[in-house]
């Protein structure tokens, strides 16, 4: 293979293993060849840089088009009466929200303190993995925190045959997305099935209820967990004391 072909194949992504070995050898022994190769490689980098800068400029333009939180302007005199009426409504509204917020503040704090996404313990993602199965995609998405895509892949996986863990990880995704009600439905289903992740489902159901501000159900599930399982017993006991 001549020098011209070697360089051509490298940049058109058609260089095979043998060619790659030859290229490396030439780069070590032929200074003129190396200079030419480095020049073309720099050119490639420069063009990528230019293209990247141009795409980023476009993205900044898209970003500017996205409506941001509106800035509230000062009301003018003509709006005085409306302002007073709106203020009264606002005060009542804030009072109600405040009441609920304060009531639930401790619960949310406790939830934040105790909730951690359950790690992927069922599918090993390894370096250089060539597995492109739904299961692989699902857990790459899950571990990356892309819970919406993980749900899509897990639901798809479920259609191909039941795997005991799917509902549990879908529920985890929903917990992370803040959909506690959907997660609760799934945790109850897991508890009914009496198969995998039953103890874990109790713990997370308790946390979901805590987030919902339902201390009674949260306590019920924590008591069931400490009475019937070893999983997270210490943390559950500690949380029970804090709830009380």
């Amino acid at each position: 293979m001549d020098k011209e072909t070697l360089i051509y194949r490298y940049f058109s992504n058609t260089l095979d293993q043998e060619g790659e070995a030859l290229l490396n050898q030439m780069l070590e022994t032929d200074a003129k060849f190396r200079d030419r190769f480095e020049f073309e490689k720099s050119l490639k980098k420069v063009i990528r840089h230019e293209k990247g800068a141009s795409v980023k400029q476009k993205l900044k333009g898209f970003e500017n088009e996205i409506p941001k939180n509106p800035i509230v302007s000062k009301p003018k005199n003509g709006f005085r009466n409306w302002s007073i009426a709106a203020s009264i409504v606002l005060l009542i509204g804030l009072g109600w929200i405040g009441f609920n917020q304060f009531r639930g503040a401790d619960d949310v704090e406790l939830y934040d303190e105790h909730f951690r996404a359950y790690p992927n313990t069922v599918y090993a993602i390894t370096r250089g993995d060539t597995d492109m199965s739904l299961e692989h995609k699902a857990f790459v998405a899950y571990e990356s925190g892309d819970y919406e895509s993980a749900i899509d892949y897990l639901e798809e996986l479920k259609k191909g045959g039941q795997k005991g863990y799917i509902d549990f990880y879908v529920a985890q995704c929903h917990m992370n997305l803040g959909n506690t009600k959907t997660a609760l439905t799934l945790f109850k289903k897991i508890m009914d099935s009496q198969k995998e992740f039953v103890a874990e489902a109790h713990w997370y159901a308790a946390l979901a209820y805590l987030k919902e501000g339902d201390k009674k159900n949260a306590t019920d599930y924590l008591e069931k967990l400490t009475a019937g399982f070893d999983y997270n017993r210490e943390r559950a006991t500690e949380l029970l004391q804090k709830i009380d």
């Binding site: 990247g52 898209f62 998405a141």
Partner: protein
């Protein structure tokens, strides 16, 4: 007018339409920012990282490094974004624990490993090259871009740009490179 969004393919992205870019950018933005907020960067930095991750993804699609999607677009963006967030945190000298080690991120997200992410700045020589590349004629810039950026073969360039033969493409490419080198040399003297 009713807004409709359709499923975007890699080929759609490669066609270079601004509307396609806008749609993909918008569809993944909020998801990405929600994900990024768990780390210690400001909202402004998160947006900047999202854009950089998007540029890297786009670059790999255009160069043919990503030939087909093996995961959703958002998974690619999250993997690249996570890598970039940790890199920034390290550069910002924020407190970075062992869980934020870049090597670990690479191990976990093998998608990043399959991509070509070049975040090094241009050297002074490359800056000079950049300046002179910009002075080349449009035809030369297009030809060199197709070859070095898109990874097209000579035959593909001939077909895409309606050249008469492969030899014409080869000669044109050599001329463009020669001109570029001459202009850099003249500037360096």
């Amino acid at each position: 007018m009713q807004q409709t969004s359709r499923t975007i393919s890699l080929e759609d992205i490669r066609q270079g339409s601004e509307e396609v870019l806008r749609q993909v950018y918008g569809e993944n933005r909020d998801k990405f920012l929600n994900f990024a907020r768990r780390y210690q960067l400001s909202e402004e930095e998160n947006i900047d990282v999202y854009q950089d991750a998007f540029v890297a993804f786009h670059d790999n699609v255009m160069s043919g490094k990503i030939e087909k999607l093996t995961s959703s677009v958002s998974t690619y963006l999250f993997s690249v974004g996570k890598y970039m967030i940790f890199d920034r945190m390290r550069k910002n000298k924020k407190k970075v624990g062992s869980q934020f080690d870049l090597e670990i991120v690479k191990d976990d997200d093998n998608l990043v490993e399959t991509l070509d992410i070049d975040d090094n700045a241009l050297t002074p020589e490359q800056q000079l090259l950049r300046t002179h590349f910009g002075t080349l004629g449009k035809k030369c810039q297009e030809l060199l871009t197709l070859f070095y950026y898109r990874g097209y073969t000579i035959q593909e360039i001939m077909e895409a740009e309606s050249y008469n033969s492969e030899n014409v493409v080869k000669s044109a490419k050599s001329r463009c490179l020669k001109t570029l080198k001459e202009r850099i040399a003249a500037n360096s003297i």
